[in-house]
């Protein structure tokens, strides 16, 4: 099977998965008791709204309507925000991307550096200290770490703002260099929370992957030939350990999404996670389904991207990459 056919099949499978996820969410929403009307709403108004949004129709009809709508690029109108879902998403997604991007950068840069540093001095004091520290940080609940960072750096030391994405008085819109700095300044605590926990996981993972490779014959051969230790670590071990690193990259997305819901809520970061959480609480069906659609697309796309990257990095795995390469640690 050629690379093109493989890619096509994977893309189609990914789309099928996303459709299945949307279907599942749709069913879950509609079997759940309760309607999107609040208690103090006049029952007659509620009745009228229910009819207006087509919620009185059989679920199959509603489902079909929704699918047709989505295929046409229309995600519907949010009940609680009284505006198109797409608008609300377009407004919040950049914030989540900034948060996730910054967290991912910290996660991988710090995690890789620590992992490589440790692999070079296994079981010596720096390695043992770092191993125990990363084990601890990796085990922290992200939302708790967020609170502690807020307490220490936001309240006690007052180095960083305690919430929001920008200063509401000076920077309601980002229109100057000062405002960019302001945004970054607001970004530090939330992204550090997600990034540090992630980096601890990445460091542990990378250290194990490097050590796994360390007993391979070609590493021993290189050492026997007298290749300098630094070069063995950087060239022979790191190069081959990067494969498993790519897999981890694909798996980072679900973690970031889950984290986003909690972290955005704590730091009042106006991103998609917080939007989704509020949508669920207000039973805003179109908004819930749309955020789930986006979330699952991101997860599936992350896996696909990882598979493609692995195929590019290691020709041996090119065709069979889908079958067993993506074993999950969860």
């Amino acid at each position: 099977m050629g690379g093109g056919a493989w890619l096509l099949r994977r893309v189609l499978a990914s789309i099928a998965i996303v459709v299945a996820v949307v279907t599942f969410i749709f069913i879950l929403i509609h079997v759940a008791p309760g309607r999107p009307c609040t208690e103090n709403l006049d029952p007659r108004v509620c009745e009228q709204l229910t009819r207006q949004f087509g919620l009185d129709k059989p679920i199959v009809v509603q489902y079909w309507r929704y699918l047709v709508q989505v295929v046409h690029g229309n995600l519907g109108v949010s009940y609680s925000l009284h505006r198109p879902v797409a608008d609300a998403l377009l407004e919040t997604i950049p914030f989540t991307l900034q948060l996730a991007g910054a967290a991912l950068m910290l996660d991988f840069l710090l995690g890789l550096a620590l992992g490589i540093y440790q692999a070079g001095r296994v079981n010596r004091i720096p390695d043992v200290v770092l191993s125990n520290s990363t084990l601890f940080v990796y085990s922290l609940p992200t939302f708790w770490l967020a609170l502690i960072l807020l307490l220490v750096f936001g309240e006690k030391l007052r180095w960083f703002p305690v919430g929001g994405a920008s200063d509401p008085i000076f920077c309601p819109v980002i229109d100057s260099f000062f405002c960019v700095v302001d945004r970054v300044w607001h970004l530090v605590l939330p992204s550090a929370t997600l990034g540090l926990v992630g980096a601890a996981g990445t460091a542990r993972f990378q250290r194990a992957a490097m050590l796994d490779v360390a007993t391979q014959d070609y590493v021993r051969t290189a050492r026997a030939k007298g290749v300098p230790e630094r070069q063995i670590v950087m060239r022979h071990q790191l190069h081959n350990a990067l494969l498993s690193f790519i897999t981890r990259f694909g798996l980072a997305f679900p973690f970031l999404l889950t984290g986003a819901v909690l972290i955005e809520t704590i730091f009042a970061w106006p991103g998609m996670g917080r939007l989704a959480f509020e949508a669920i609480l207000t039973r805003d069906y179109p908004l819930v389904t749309a955020t789930a659609l986006i979330a699952s697309t991101v997860v599936v796309a992350g896996n696909l991207l990882a598979d493609i990257l692995i195929g590019l990095a290691d020709p041996r795995l090119r065709v069979h990459a889908t079958t067993d390469a993506d074993i999950v640690t969860a």
Partner: protein
């Protein structure tokens, strides 16, 4: 804290240390488990877990106060840690130490039960898919693909929020039913490899029934990944429950869980950090110990290490 509480705590500590020592003593006869105890962090993890489980079980002996009682809402709110209130009191003048001890029952219970549901289901599905292959495998594994792509936190938030607070068992089931996908993939891969092995083929040739082959011959040999994912699973479920409770939709107050204790403490974190700090540390301690134990088990049961010289 009364003298009796301290005494109970010391007894729990001794019991845990003795239990680990006894296990270690027995383990020395078996090469694989000796490898486990050579990990210092894994032994510590096991000890800490045993200690916390004993404390949670013996909660009435270790906790000086009723965890839900508001001791004195006028004079005793947000008291700092002291000899009377070991970890201080919270905004509603409840003893944080007592709540943490009783909350441990809920949090550890959900972690263990949720992981039990998840790992049993994952193992079953993985074993069926790997053993029968063909269309059963195809159907089950496509289902797992979808499950892994589900935004799990959304599903749980929805389940809990839409049904207006789930009872304990439903919460356990909801978490367990959304957490088995990873395990099933691992088990399937293991079973696929094992079913070709001579002893499995021989068992089948002898006419041993399918379920017996799977449960007596195949699965025991796939124990390593199952145990590891169970240990990691307990930690994940515990974190998940804590997240849900923190968002205010997990374990309903006044019942204490470590997650909702953090939520309760968060509003007064600047004036009384202890009521947030300690439950979080408890979660971290448990999850860390579980991760360490999982590492140890992975090394101990790694077939590549068997008979190897170190």
């Amino acid at each position: 804290m009364t003298l009796g509480n301290w005494l109970a705590l010391v007894v729990a500590l001794i019991l845990a240390a003795e239990a680990v020592r006894a296990l270690r003593h027995r383990a020395l006869r078996r090469e694989r488990w000796r490898r486990f105890f050579r990990h210092r962090t894994a032994s510590w993890g096991l000890g800490i877990l045993t200690f916390l489980v004993i404390v949670a079980l013996a909660a009435p002996l270790v906790a000086p106060f009723d965890p839900n009682r508001q001791l004195d809402i006028v004079h005793l709110t947000n008291q700092p840690p002291s000899w009377t209130f070991l970890l201080g009191t919270d905004l509603l003048s409840r003893d944080v130490w007592s709540r943490a001890v009783y909350g441990g029952r809920i949090s550890l219970g959900i972690g263990a039960l949720g992981a039990l549901v998840a790992v049993s289901l994952g193992t079953l599905v993985g074993a069926l898919a790997g053993y029968y292959r063909r269309w059963i495998d195809a159907v089950l594994m496509r289902g797992v693909d979808v499950g892994l792509a589900l935004p799990r936190i959304f599903i749980l938030l929805m389940a809990v929020a839409l049904w207006d607070g789930l009872p304990f068992t439903a919460l356990v089931l909801a978490i367990g039913l959304t957490s088995w996908f990873g395990t099933s993939r691992l088990v399937r891969a293991e079973v696929l490899a094992l079913r070709q092995r001579d002893f499995v083929v021989a068992a089948r040739a002898l006419g041993v029934g399918t379920s017996r082959v799977i449960f007596r011959h195949v699965l025991p040999n796939a124990a390593a990944p199952i145990i590891v994912s169970a240990a990691l699973g307990v930690g994940n479920v515990l974190l998940l429950e804590a997240s849900l409770s923190f968002l205010g939709i997990g374990i309903a107050p006044p019942e204490a869980s470590w997650g909702n204790m953090i939520a309760d403490g968060a509003p007064s974190i600047y004036t009384a950090p202890w009521s947030t700090l300690f439950p979080g540390l408890a979660i971290a301690l448990v999850v860390m110990s579980l991760n360490a134990v999982a590492d140890g088990v992975r090394d101990a049961l790694d077939p590549r290490e068997d008979g190897g010289v170190e």
